[in-house]
């Protein structure tokens, strides 16, 4: 479903990605791990067609993200690191806008919004302005906009960052409930996140993949932290560009 091959990307003098390769099969939930500045966001942005790579290829459902971006866009739901929300819209208005933007046909738009509101637990706040929502709710709206067109592939960039433990648990449960058959690629630098939600982990460091294996092989939930620290040992600030920069 997702195949990333030898991806390169530089910003000015900084090499953000230096040959990233990994793959995710249909129905897999893959954790994309790495310290801040490792190249996670850049990789996800390339997969989501927001950025074009300088070298290598990223394909989603068999379509190259750089050459056939429209085909890729039809098939992905993308939650960027900073949830893209219009604060002057209500939750309902915003999700209807997203459905139209994603070409959900008018007759099924209302139902699509209803479903995603129910699934993300937004029923109580759907008529409130997004500006007045808590961070946890905003993150749920961010997830809802990525789901409203029922995509085959979900790309989530740090879906739980900045949330309190209760909210984190809710979002995790939500991600886990997103159902089978959907491929999920989820980036994070929080290890338990991967342990709880993913079946596989790809660890990236300084623009390179340093580990790519099942959770068990990486030492299970408890050994994961050790694996992470071992693989990402050394200065993690060196490649700190391209991550989080809007």
């Amino acid at each position: 479903m997702i195949e990333v091959r030898n991806l390169f990307k530089r910003f000015g003098d900084t090499e953000a990605l230096r040959g990233v390769s990994f793959a995710a099969a249909r129905g897999e939930v893959v954790g994309f791990l790495g310290p801040n500045g490792a190249g996670k966001t850049t990789t996800l942005r390339i997969l989501a067609t927001y950025l074009a790579p300088d070298g290598g290829s990223a394909t989603v459902c068999g379509f190259d993200a750089a050459e056939r971006p429209m085909e890729v866009r039809r098939r992905i739901g993308y939650l960027p690191e900073q949830p893209p929300l219009y604060l002057d819209h209500t939750v309902d208005e915003f999700l209807r806008f997203c459905a139209a933007l994603r070409r959900v046909p008018r007759p099924s738009r209302r139902r699509a919004v209803e479903e995603v509101v129910a699934r993300c637990g937004l029923g109580d706040v759907r008529h409130r302005l997004i500006a007045n929502l808590s961070r946890g709710y905003r993150q749920r709206v961010g997830l809802a906009q990525a789901l409203v067109h029922d995509p085959e592939v979900l790309i989530l960039d740090e879906p739980t960052s900045g949330l309190d433990p209760q909210q984190i648990r809710e979002i995790r449960n939500l991600i886990r409930s997103l159902g089978t058959g959907r491929t999920v690629l989820l980036s994070t630098h929080i290890l338990p996140e991967v342990a709880v939600t993913c079946s596989r982990a790809v660890i990236i460091h300084r623009g390179r993949v340093v580990a790519d294996d099942g959770l068990e092989a990486l030492g299970g939930p408890t050994g994961l932290e050790e694996a992470f620290l071992r693989f990402t040992a050394g200065d993690s600030e060196a490649t700190g560009v391209g991550e989080g920069a809007a």
Partner: protein, 256 residues
Amino acid sequence: MRPALAVALKEIRSQVASPVGWVVAASYLFLGGYFFFGLVDGFARTLRSYAALAPTLVERINLNEIVVTGLARNLLVLLLFVLPILTMRSFAEERRQGTDELLLTAPAGAGEIVLGKYLGLLAVATAWIAASGAFMLILLRYGDPETGPIWTAWLGLGLAAAAMVALGIAVSAATESQAVAGVGSFVLFLMLFVVDWPADSLGTRVGAALKAISLPGRFDGLSRGLVSSGDVAYFLSLAALGLFTARAIVASQRWR
């Protein structure tokens, strides 16, 4: 087309919900009213003094020329100030808020996003211009101006807005800062207003070229009731130039 329409409606909705939009609209109409009052008052005083001093010349004083054409020209200058405020947010703010990631990863393409922004903002600008038509209703109620030149003058305002909104969006697409976008479009529009000022000292060929791209020069005929295809084509070409530039800038951002 669906995504473009969605973006257009969102844009209108944001403007309607934003106090800034209303403040700008109110300022435009307030200043327009102030100019209108001054022009009508000037017309009336001219009429009185001619009637007293040279009754034979009263016929020559034309309500259309003084009030309609005069107001249209003043409103055009007001557009120079208010349209940058309307367009400066369009892409700069999306990028600063990170919402451009939503727009540009949707199955829509840069062209449709730009078109949506354009249609939405042009609808808002058109509403402002239409509202300033109220002054002409007052004039028709109490005077007897020719209606043809009123229509062409307001068509001219609409065409000028169509050009300036497109260019403003292109400037906004090139920056992340609303302030830079606002100042940038203002300077660009102002240049279109004053570009022909040195025309007379630059030789006939260059001078003629500068006059040909002067926005008020192209507006002049329309404000007096003359519709020429050249003038209409000028405004539409500027609009097309703005839209293509905006699309190119937005599309190129993937290749940063």
